[in-house]
Amino acid sequence: MSERLKFAGAGFGVGILSGLLGVGGGIFIVPIMVTYFNITQHIAQATSMAIVIPTAFISSIIYGFHGNIDVNVALNLIVGSMVGASIGVRIMKKVPAIRLKQLFAILLIMVGVRMILT
């Protein structure tokens, strides 16, 4: 099976799962890229961000049609998160892959616990 087909198949599975479970694709995409496609942690995380954009775009349109977006709060959050992201990516570049993996693993465990409790 070609590499492209594998990528598309993995993406499809992630899309289905994130829709069903109400979690973003990133927490599945990064481990899949690192484990099955042998992509390094830094590149997997950066690539995951690029995948998140179209997925979030489609979901926003769906939520928007249902009238479930508070624009004022959203804009205020966006200002903060854009500043935060530009700080976060610069820290990420300096953190060794092994530490990123450990931080990511802690995040996974927290997300998993939340999924069980809710």
């Binding site: 590499e3 289905i16 799962l17 829709g19 961000m49 690029a50 179209p54 959203a74 854009m82 069980i116």
Partner: protein, 126 residues
Amino acid sequence: MTMILLVFGIGLSTGILSGLLGIGGGVVLVPMMVFLLGIAQHTAQGISMLVIIPTSIVSVWYFYKEKLINYQAAAYMAGGAALGALISANFVQAVPASALKRIFGIFVILIGFRMIWATRKKDEDI
């Protein structure tokens, strides 16, 4: 004013975590909106999706300049993910989500512990 600062702070911490770990940030953003701002779960999820877009654009712009993106993986996985999300968004009501969530919760925790275990062994090698 305090409210604006609180919301800004929530956005800021979400952005840092998002950039640092390559995730959208909804995982932390949604619970903070629900618990700290008292926003309803469904509205919080909608807002979160909207916030994720400009946040990831900032990160992707930086990663593009730093040449950290695998474009083939990004294009094909994004295509697959968009199709999968569209399908599951339209059929999500038909599935008993809470049971599924618990099963995958355990699965996600196991992946987390496996990742920590793997890095521990590498530490010993170094």
